[in-house]
Structures are given as C-alpha cells and as structure tokens.
Assembly symmetry: C2
Homo-oligomer: 337 residues x 2
DNA sequence: GTGAAAGCGCTAACAT
DNA sequence: ATGTTAGCGCTTTCAC
C-alpha cells in the first residue's frame, strides 16, 4: 500500500491536482468549484485515507506548523507542566511541538535555535538563558514570533510572560517577618536572570524595611542533587542563627529540605520555610510547606495566546508585550512556631 | 539578509550545486572532488553561515530526522524524566524530538500517529494506550521503527522496554507480608494495560502464597486529583481493617498519601505504605515512603538504543526485541511499626 | 572530478 | 470553474 499523492487523487478522478489542492485547502468556494465535485473529491479522499504530505507543503509554503519549545529542562516539574498545557492548545490550533532542553547553556541554546531554524519552525517559546538576545532579535526581525516566559532578556525585543518575582519575594519575606522571624536566609540559584534577580531584590527590600540582615546563599546549579544538597548543608552549618529560609525555586526548596533532613533541622522549630513554586512535595511534607504558587495554567495560556496572535496576524504592527502575572502565597503550617 | 540556498553557494563559487551537495554530505572523497575545492566550499559555507534547509532535504530523502515521542502525559514526572534522557541522546545522534501526550486515549493516539506520519517522522517511541496495535503494526510493516515502553501491546509486533512489573509487585507485597502485615491493599489505576496487569498479578500471587485476602481498589484516572483522592478516601473508609497498602503508580501514591492525610491516617501506625515509582515526594515524606524505583536512565537508554539500531540498520532482519529491566525496592521507614 | 537535469509533493500565479 | 506549469531547496542519476 503505497502512499498516495495529490496527483494520484487527481488522476483517479480525472481532474487536475490544482482543483484537488484548492478543495483540500478550503478554497473551493472562493474558486467556485462545484459543490458536487468538492463532495466527490472529499469522499474519495476519506475513502483512501489520503493525507497531504506536510513536508512538501512546508517546503512550498515556508511554514512548518511547528512550534519550537525551549525550556531549561523538560524534566523540571514546572516546565513539564507548562509543556503539557502548551501542547494541548497548540495541537488544537494545528501546531505540533518540537522541544529541547537548554540546560541554561548559552551556546547550546544558540545551536538549538539554528537547528530549529533549519526546520522552519514557525514560532518559538523560550525560557532563555542569558546571552541569546541577539539571536532572539534576529528571529523577530525575520518575522518569526518569539515568546519568552519565566524570565526575559531585557535586550530582546520580544513578548514575554512572567510572574511578579520581586513582589512575590517581598511579600513572602514580609510574611516571615510578620511572624516574628528575624534571621531569614534566601537560598537560590546563582543566576543573573531576571526572575532570580527580581526575587533577590524583593527579599532584600523586605529585609531593609525592617532593618534586618540578609543571608543570601547562591547555589551553582548542578544536575547532581547531592552536590547542591551538601552546599546547602554547608551554608546552614555556617549560619546557626538562622530562624527562617526562603527558597528561590522549587529545585532549591527540594534540595534544601533534603539538606535540613540530613542535618536534623526541623520545620518550623529550627527553620521556618517558604519556597517558590508549589508542588505535591510541599503539600505532603510534614508540616506542609508554605509556597509561592505560580499560576501555571495562566502562564501557559498567555504564552500560547500571544504566540498564536503573532502567528495569525504576522503583519500587525510590532510592539513587544510584557505580561506579568500575580502569584499566590499558599500559607501552610511551615511557619507556625 | 535573505536565507542562502545551495544554489547561491554554487553560483557564488562558480561551481555546480551538485558539487556543493556532495561536499555537504561528506561524499567529496567518494566523488573525488579536489581537496582544495572542498576546503574553499567549506570555508565559504562557514563564512556566510549557510545551513541546508531540512524541509527540502526531508522532502527529497523521505527522512525527517525527527523522532516522535508519545507518552501518556508529558507532565507526569516519570515521563518527563524519560523525555529528558531520550532527548539528550537523540540530539546527539542528529534527531529532533516532536512530542505529544496521549492521555491514554485510543482515538487520540490513532489521530496523533497520523499527524506524525504526515510529517514523515522517522521513528516512534510510545507508551501506548490499548487498541493501537494495528496502527503500530502498520508502521512497522512500512519500515518505520517503533519502540514501546512502560508497557506493551501483546499484538503489536514491535520492540519494547519495560520493567518486571509482576516480580516487582510480588516482591514488594512479600516484603510487607514479611514485616507482619496481613491486610494489604493494592490501589492502582483501572487499566487493562500490561504493566498494571502485571503488578496486579504479582500482588495477588504474593498474597496467595500466604493465604491472605486481596483488597484491590481500581481508580479511574482523572486529571482532577481531587476526584481520585476522594475515591481513595472512600475505599480506605470502607476497609478499616487494612494495615498496609501498595500503590500501583506514582500518581496513585501521591493521591493516596493526600487521602490518608485528610483521613488522618498515619504511616506506618495506621497503614504501612509502598509505592511504585520513586520521587522526591516519597523521599521527603515523614516517614520516608518505601518505593519501587524504576531504572529510569536504563529504560531511556535502552529505548533510544534500540530505536537508533533500527534506524541505522533498517533492513536487518526483524525480530521484535523485548527488554525487561529490574526494579529496586528502596526500603525506607514507612514499614517499621 | 564536475555539472545538467529530473523529481520529491505541494501551492499558486497564470492561463483558459 | 478548472487546468498548466513553475517553482520551493535539496539529492542523485547519468553524462561528460
């Protein structure tokens, strides 16, 4: 059973492939092709299960109907969830998704953008590492829409969707202060990225307002959890006076809790805890961990909506959109002394 | 800056595009093209940053260098991790990955296979729902390699990689029995899939050996956790005599723990717990939950290796491979009365 | 050693 | 209203 082409269809029906093509692309009416013929063609197509070759179509039109999704790591629960939500809506709109993990590696990301370009990916969704602003601007200049999320590159003139990092950290830190904690650490990944900078800024601002001292621990991201755990253990051991900690990301929170466990530090008697990003692991922990919940669905929805807008109206005047969403501080018992 | 094509390169260098193509594809030597010319071409290509159009290449060769990854849900931590590991190796071998979530929906999966076919996806990695055996066989018959994982379809003549579900459940249940538990429940997703059937079988076999009664609870999978949690609560409430529970999947385990929390049932004083699949959430739970750890890296490695083999040696005689891997029972304190 | 030319399956401008 | 035909950018056969 060889695969049929549009010519086979045309020949079999004794019409031209143009006609078939028009019918296939819903331009029958516009081209005033007779109802009867349209029906005959569609019936036959259904009968033999003909499906146009998307590669050929893509070559001809220059569109691939593929969206490139580049995240820090697809295995991270935050990004995996986003990926799932984006997928749903993309497929509903006729787009497929090709993904890759950047590992926050600038060079790797640049290469991957090239790889995606070779395939004429129609649009990009990226949680960008630093240093790819130029590449993103080049894409946008070529008319290929790019939406950044989770963070943005100030020099990249593209749309982005993120949360209010600064306020979220400020608010969480303030909450700890309100509960009477005075030596509050901020444990996060070392990164100059906007989201991490924002969180750090919010944390510091809250402390400053109360005249408290900052204790910042920046972890070098390492795929091997054990390394990060022992770094955090070190930090806690060096700062015995801490009474609370704000984790700047889910991965930091998970490693931090593991570190605390190994040091036999209890929540909240030894350390009160709040972490960015919510997850089962925080909900099921004893006591449940207070978390800054990102509106994941809303993020995904905004990302894909903005991208589809750009895809559908490519020549609309360009003005990069910045969408900043609110988080929710899910207060749980990890704070009650 | 318009994108260059192979013709532009050829024209600029006053040679034919055939020559350029040969050089591009490493056939210069075979075609006895002069060293000097090869170098000149390569230098120029690098200079202008020329990259062949993969769509055109794909149309011509019929190969896309794309692997289709179809999992139950990309947001599930098990599948997300697999996706990450597969991605790594695939990209290293020049393959991109296009993914989709099947939701275990047979019709959706059939449609998605069609969608992937339109794009001439070179090979498939699938955690298949039931009822797509024919589609898989058709792919294999057309010479397109398919590797199933996590489960397999007995009627599908394709390679698969999975764990020893029956033994894993048998062993875990036996461990509970050895610890003195007598009323052991098995809480799992209702599914006729091989992996779930295997787990159920192992559980029952262990009980039978000790003359114990089976308490099986089959949850209908529901994207809304709350529904599943309340179903499990119901079950626990109806069976107050239970002293231990084996969860048949990570999602069942997480929902089960949430249900127990709401019912104020403690581990292990009220119920000893073992769950399939390991995860941070089990490690950080108090007390840490004993888990049946799947060798995720090994699974991913085997899946992609088998697929690459098929891709690289398409005409090698076909004999479907079954790879069954061992799990590890990670014993934690969730069992010690 | 290199080049001309056909053709992969489709779309769309241009006939008719 | 429908057909003819020229590409999209590449690979590959065959000719020189």
């Amino acid at each position: 059973m060889k695969k049929l082409s549009i010519v086979d269809i045309a020949n079999h029906l004794n019409i031209s492939k143009t006609t078939v093509s028009f019918i296939l692309n819903g331009r029958a009416q516009e081209k005033r092709i007779s109802e009867e013929l349209v029906e005959r063609v569609q019936k036959f197509i259904k009968e033999v299960g003909y499906r146009p070759n998307e590669t050929a179509r893509g070559l001809r039109t220059g569109k691939s109907n593929i969206i490139g999704l580049m995240v820090e790591s697809i295995s991270d629960p935050f990004f995996a969830t986003i990926a799932r939500l984006i997928e749903n809506k993309a497929y509903k709109n006729g787009y497929k998704i090709i993904y890759c993990s950047t590992d926050n590696d600038t060079q790797k990301t640049k290469d991957l953008i090239q790889v995606f370009r070779e395939r004429s990916v129609d649009g990009y969704i990226i949680s960008p590492p630093e240093g790819v602003d130029e590449e993103i601007n080049e894409l946008v200049k070529s008319g290929i829409p790019v939406v950044m999320f989770d963070r943005h590159l100030p020099k990249a003139k593209a749309d982005y969707v993120e949360i209010d990092n600064e306020y979220s950290a400020f608010n969480a830190t303030g909450h700890l202060i309100g509960k009477g904690y005075r030596n509050i650490a901020f444990v996060t990944f070392s990164s100059a990225q906007t989201q991490m900078q924002g969180r750090l800024k919010g944390y510091k601002a809250a402390l400053k307002g109360s005249g408290l001292k900052a204790y910042v621990m920046e972890i070098d991201y390492n795929p091997d959890d054990a390394k990060m755990i022992s770094a955090i253990k070190d930090f806690f051991s060096r700062h015995k006076n801490l009474d609370a900690v704000l984790f700047g990301a889910i991965q930091a929170g998970v490693c931090g809790l593991k570190a605390m466990k190994e040091l036999d530090l209890h929540v909240p008697s030894n350390l009160a805890v709040i972490s960015f990003d919510d997850h089962d692991v925080f909900e099921l922990f004893s006591p449940p961990i207070t978390a800054i919940e990102q509106p994941i669905e809303e993020i995904a929805e905004n990302v894909i909506d903005v991208l589809l807008q750009r895809l559908n109206f490519p020549d609309r005047e360009f003005k990069a959109k910045s969408i900043v969403l609110k988080t929710k501080l899910k207060i749980r018992s990890s704070l009650d002394k």
